[in-house]
Subunit: 204 residues, 2 copies
């Protein structure tokens, strides 16, 4: 039993790392099993298909990231302070990844969104749910900030989408230029997108 879940864990870890490095489409099940050090036969014991594995990798990554986002975006601090913390932690996370493997890995969800949206509806649907949830979380903080008079936005939904789009766009450039410095202006840009007031600047 211990050995069984070990093999599943190894397949998930190998797949995650290979997908981050080379994308999903070019990967084969044999290659994943080789990297995981498990016999190919055992793959289909744990996963119905390569697509099922991709969904499991996505789900596991989102479970971890959702915990991080929730921790950053909740608590007693002022709402804009929390949003700023999320952006700073994202930059720090990409920097840690770059130090570990030499390159900025970017956002697994963004990578897969561009690679797979028009290829697998199951992955597309799952990524839509994840980005919807991210926008929900940011929107809730923006709405709180608006209550306090810290931001001037009228449409909190569109504002939250703009923030998440800005994040994905800048993470794309951090990956392309292999430079986490691309993420440093994120808070400044979010301030502009949200129409942060003088009171909001002080609170953040």
């Amino acid at each position: 039993m211990g050995r069984t879940s070990d093999a599943r864990r190894k397949i998930l870890d190998a797949a995650r790392s290979l997908i981050e490095g080379r994308g999903y489409s070019a990967l084969g099940v044999a290659e994943i099993c080789k990297a995981a050090g498990v016999p190919k036969g055992s793959f289909y014991y744990f996963f119905e298909s390569k697509e099922a594995l991709a969904l499991a990798v996505v789900d596991e990554h989102w479970a971890a990231q959702k915990r991080d986002w929730t921790r950053a975006l909740t608590g007693d601090a002022e709402p804009l302070r929390r949003l700023r913390r999320l952006l700073e932690e994202t930059e720090a996370g990409q920097l840690a990844g770059q130090r570990g493997c030499g390159t900025v890995a970017g956002c697994l969800f963004g990578n897969l969104a561009l690679e797979l949206s028009n290829q697998t509806e199951a992955v597309r649907g799952r990524l839509q749910e994840i980005f919807d949830a991210q926008v929900d979380m940011v929107e809730s903080v923006v709405a709180e900030a608006r209550e306090r008079g810290d931001v001037r936005v009228t449409d909190t939904r569109e504002a939250a989408r703009a923030v998440v789009a800005q994040l994905e766009g800048q993470v794309m450039f951090a990956k392309l230029y292999n430079s986490t410095g691309r993420l440093s202006p994120l808070w400044q840009n979010c301030r502009a997108l949200l129409g942060v007031t003088a009171a909001g600047v002080t609170a953040a």
Copy 2:
């Protein structure tokens, strides 16, 4: 001679369409030649490698897009009016593509940036040049707008990067949700990012 350049043209068109649909990594030379209707042997007469073909696809796409961007961003109209035109034309272009093939194709450069940045340095370098050129073009319009008092930004470079990042982020979501409506708030978001003044709003 006519037939020769025909075969090169067919390979480029097939590759472009396959890369847009399925990405680059999963493609094989044999598949590209089959889709192009040319014998596999002729591929290496025109292209040294699959990477050389990808660079040719990227260069050709940029040559066309650069013409579009230059047309949109230059001329007698007020600078912000021109920037707005670029964003509106981007939305219209993605909509036309969606009507043609059923799905939003997104941005070829953004797709390849996320798929290939950490795999081929030649493609990474070329895409960096292209995004640098896009930022140059936007920055020049933003600087003009600042001269007129239409925007409040202090750092025109960072502002232009934020605009291009916003564009790439929203195009990602247009592709993921297969909805060009995701691009409709682009101008509104750029107004916020650039700190457009009352005079700027009128001019745009």
